[in-house]
Amino acid sequence: METDSLIRLQDVKKVFYTDEVETHALSEVHLDIAEGEFIAIAGPSGCGKTTLLSLLGLLDSPSSGEYTLAGESVAKLDATQRAFVRNRQIGFIFQAFNLIGDLTVQENVELPLTYRKMPPAERKKRVLDALERVGMAHRTGHYPSQLSGGQQQRVAVARAIAGKPAILLADEPTGNLDSKNGEAVMQLLKELHGEGSTICMVTHDPRYAENADRSVHLFDGRIVRDEASDAAHELEESGFELH
């Protein structure tokens, strides 16, 4: 089990200090995510979901504990090293899409690849592949403001997968979408998972959490439950393997 983990958190803590107040956002978190796994992180507001996702995405560093990504310890990396790992190993999908308004769809998707100094021809191919994968190849020259919310999130997914990262981190990817578009994005994530992507998704919506193989429930900064989702149970009970 240990050798198969793509991500491993061991006794991770995150403490925020504001004035004289010490806030324990995460405590004693142990988490293993295997390659190809689709994991949902759930819990009430303020339980530490986004903090956990930020640590996983190397947007922040743990106050203590160990974080191993693809066999490498990444807990103590400096800002430049973290940027390097983020760029190559992690793909982000945000609730608010976070597309850059002044860039076209193609340029937005190309953005993480430009930081890799990738040759333009290869960048272009990867961008088109990613946009085709999410069904947005016909909108390459459009600006985000010219797209619907669902389309913007599909472009954001394309941006996340264009670099072929080790893991996709999705923070409430359906939070800003209506139910129809939300379903469509979830379907896209399921398809990506089906194709082998490792996905870690923060959500507070139990319906979407059920799409994951496994649900991790946080409360007051601690993992209080880590279980296979109902859908996974059903699959196991029906004799199919998860992966």
Binding site: G57, F84, R86, N87, L111
Partner: protein, 809 residues
């Protein structure tokens, strides 16, 4: 009215609550308005205002148009002046003046005074009234009567403590008595015509018999008052008619001698006029940059106020009402900037007076920030408010209601961002124009100072004396100069000394010009004979000054005796002119006629520039002082250390020789050069200061725009960092934005600078107005400053925590 007061109160409160914004805006406006006001006060006094004489528009200067030698404004020969005055039909009166120096003898020492000898009617022509006593009467100009003088107000106060009993007192001037008949008023222009020095006293000129027939040499400066309604052009045509008659009557001296008439006002501002208008244009650019900067600041602040303006609009404020609100802040800012600007203007005027070449700009003391200038400042303030307030008022009075209220934070539209970027482009383009102008003048200045003047300029002290009245005989005078040089060489710190009649870079030279011909070659008619300058030197002059001997030898003590053979040294220019292919050594030249003694050439020395760095060398023949009785000489003293330290003991040493010796000029060659380059240095100093201010303002503008952009792109920067952008990538991204805007401005500025380069062409020296080095250098400096100004917000952006940035609303 109540609403207006309320708006003013809001504006003041808003400015008080944002002290950084208010401080930068007010200081920027103050620099622009203050500098413009200061330069305007100079232009107003020197160019726009009438001269302080009754009906001053009728006053003109009159010159000989010497077409023979190509000198369009030459001094006037006395006999020509007399004929012009008698035969003209367009002048009420004409008078002539001659700059002069007089030694005022008191007790056992003498003081040199700068004087003007004025012909009859000079003060009446100007319409001057005496401050004390009287001015000249016709009988004062009659030969044989007692000499009378009028004192300048400055000398009266300085030399006689403003004693009103001075009138009627006899002074001893050049060993002769002269009675003071009056004192001139303090506002009288003492540098009139002879602007190089303020004058101490006026002497009633008595026309000498020989002068009344003198047409060969010209040394008088002439002023006149025209008949009412007559223009300078009509007067010039009238005098040209008289000059044509004189050319027929006296063909040898007057052929190709015409007349030139120039308004007195135009003449007095002509040398400074171009430079002052150039500086006014430059300071106008600074003001425009200041306006662009403040407009940008207002737009940035407006973005922060979008919600407030949106709420006001939602509550019923119309566009006009919002415009008035913004406009009130604009006017309040302009007024505060103007008040501080007036203080800056007072400092600026003091600075200009300190920097200005006083020996070239007359009426410097009259420059002041007075009511008339303050009226200009008021108009300027209104114009400034319009310039920097128009765009923000238009933009901010139409808030994006939906965006402002929905997002609850500043909302910057693409259109507004484009306006701000456009302002930055404009101000960098203007700053580049100023940088190029200052760069070209600086390059010219350096080229000028690096010009080879033909002698070693370091460690040289200079003392100019006139000894026409001190010695009883020519023999005594010759002996005095031998003794004086020996005395000077004995002063501690002196290495050698020599004397010359016409010293390079010195204004009060006695330039002697002579026609010459090479002995043995056919003699040309007098009007076709080539001319050379005749310069008298003591034996050690060439070695002391460092003029190299190119051929043969210099002059020795053995040559410096009236009984010795008359040998001369010539310079390279004369050698090229007289012996273009041959060897001059051992050959003879004669001056003026074939009856004059032959002068054997024993050496050739290098050329020396006399009139200035940019004046071409002139042909010269150097005659040993021992063969002459010349009394107007300038000592050059080569020192081991700082020449300024040697001047006091050198003066004392010469006083030991003759206690009543006066010095017309004492200083160092460095001082002389400083005076020569003073006009260029003045323009360079002010233009350079304006360019630095412009650069600083452009930097502040770029910094402001980029900082604002960083603030509004925080979330975007967070996204980029989440996607793997390193800090260096973020710095590059942000710096690129500032540099890109500046690059566009630089490109436009280069086009403008090339198009407008002719404006400074007349002030350049050996530098093309499109000098590639200057244009490139200015562009590099500007882009460097833009990069530096962008780097600070870029560094701040790179420190953004991506996690915080993604939460940023």
């Amino acid at each position: 009215m109540t609403d207006l007061l309320l708006d003013i109160r809001y504006a003041l409160r808003g400015l008080r609550k944002h002290p950084t914004f208010s401080g930068i805006a007010i200081l920027t406006l103050a620099l622009g308005i203050g500098a413009t006001t200061a330069i305007f006060s100079v232009i107003d006094t020197l160019i726009l205002r009438d001269l302080p004489y009754p009906r001053s528009g009728e006053l003109v200067t009159v010159w000989q148009d010497n077409r023979r030698e190509g000198i369009p404004r030459d001094d006037v020969a006395p006999a020509n002046f007399i004929d012009w005055r008698e035969r003209n039909q367009t002048f009420v009166e004409m008078a002539a003046v001659e700059p002069y120096s007089q030694d005022l003898v008191t007790d056992d020492r003498a003081e040199v005074l700068f004087a003007v000898q004025a012909t009859e009617g000079f003060f009446d022509l100007l319409g001057v009234q005496p401050y004390l006593g009287r001015l000249f009467r016709p009988e004062d100009h009659t030969p044989g009567t007692g000499a009378v003088v009028v004192l300048a107000y400055g000398l009266w106060m300085r030399g006689f403590g403003g004693d009103s009993s001075i009138v009627g007192r006899a002074l001893v001037l050049d060993d002769a008595p002269a009675v003071v008949v009056g004192v001139l008023p303090p506002e009288f222009e003492t540098g009139l015509l002879a602007a190089s020095f303020d004058r101490d006293l006026w002497i009633a000129r008595r026309m000498q018999g020989w002068e009344q027939a003198s047409r060969e040499s010209s040394w008088w400066q002439v002023v006149g008052r025209l008949n009412p309604g007559v223009t300078a052009q009509q007067a010039e045509a009238d005098l040209d008619r008289v000059a044509a008659d004189l050319a027929v009557e006296y063909p040898r001296t007057n052929e190709n001698i015409g007349a030139a008439v120039v308004g007195l006002h135009a003449y007095m501002v002509s040398s400074a006029g171009t430079a002052l208008w150039l500086l006014f244009g430059a300071v106008g650019l600074v003001l425009l940059i200041a306006c662009a900067n403040v407009a940008n600041l207002l737009l940035a602040r407006g973005a922060q106020r979008e919600t407030e303006l949106g709420v006001r609009a939602a509550l019923g404020a119309g566009g006009a009402r919002l415009a008035r609100l913004v406009l009130t802040e604009v006017v309040v800012l302009a007024c505060l900037g103007s008040v501080v600007g007036i203080i800056v203007a007072f400092w600026g005027v003091d600075l200009i007076k300190a920097l200005a070449p006083g020996h070239l700009i007359t009426r410097l003391d009259a420059i002041a920030v007075d009511g008339r200038v303050l009226g200009f400042t008021l108009l300027l303030t209104a114009l400034t408010a319009l310039l920097f307030g128009a765009v923000p008022t238009l933009q901010l009075s139409r808030p994006n209601l939906q965006g402002a209220l929905k997002e609850g934070r500043g909302h910057t539209s693409r259109a507004r961002a484009r306006v701000r970027s456009g302002l930055i482009v404009a101000e960098t383009a203007l700053a580049l124009g100023l940088l190029v102008g200052a760069g070209l003048i600086l390059r010219s200045f350096v080229m000028l100072l690096n010009e080879d003047t033909g002698f070693r300029r370091d460690r040289l002290a200079v003392l100019q004396i006139f000894r026409w009245n001190n010695d009883e005989t020519a023999q005594h005078r010759r002996q005095y100069f031998r003794d004086a040089i020996a005395t000077l060489e004995a002063v501690p710190g002196v290495r050698s000394a020599g004397a010359v009649s016409a010293a390079p870079f010195l204004e009060a030279n006695i330039d002697l010009r002579r026609a010459y011909f090479v002995d043995g070659e056919p003699m040309l008619p007098a009007e076709e004979m080539p001319q050379t300058h005749l310069t008298i030197v003591t034996p050690g002059y060439f070695e002391t000054v460092g003029v190299p001997v190119r051929r043969g030898r210099g002059l020795t003590d053995a040559d410096d005796h009236p009984d010795a053979e008359l040998v001369v040294v010539i310079n390279e220019s004369l050698r090229r002119q007289a012996w273009p292919d041959g060897d001059p050594l051992g050959r003879f030249i004669r001056l003026n006629s074939d009856t004059s003694p032959p002068l054997r050439v024993v050496g050739v020395v290098g050329d020396v520039r006399h009139a200035g760095f940019d004046a071409p060398p002139r042909p010269e023949v150097f005659v040993p002082h021992g063969h002459t009785q010349f009394g107007s000489m300038t000592f050059f003293v080569r020192t081991a250390g700082d020449p300024a330290h040697v001047l006091p003991p050198a003066r004392e040493a010469l006083w030991d020789l003759d206690a009543r010796q006066t010095f017309y000029y004492t200083g160092t060659v460095g001082d002389m050069i400083s005076r020569v380059v003073a006009p260029r240095r003045f323009v360079l100093a002010l233009l350079g200061a304006f360019a630095v201010v412009a650069l600083l303002m452009a930097a502040i503008g770029i910094y402001g725009v980029v900082s604002f952009a960083v603030q509004h792109r925080t979330r975007e920067i967070g996204v980029r960092m989440a996607l793997g952008a390193r800090r260096a990538d973020v710095v590059t991204l942000v710096v690129r934005q500032g540099v890109r805007l500046s690059a566009i401005g630089t490109a436009l500025g280069l086009v403008g600078a090339i198009a407008g380069s002719r404006l400074v062409e007349s002030m350049l020296y050996h530098v093309s107005p499109r000098d590639g080095f200057t244009l490139t250098g200015a562009a590099v400096v500007l882009l460097g400053v833009a990069a530096a100004a962008s780097y600070l917000p870029a560094r701040r952006a790179a420190r953004i925590d991506p996690l915080e940035a993604l939460r940023h609303e």
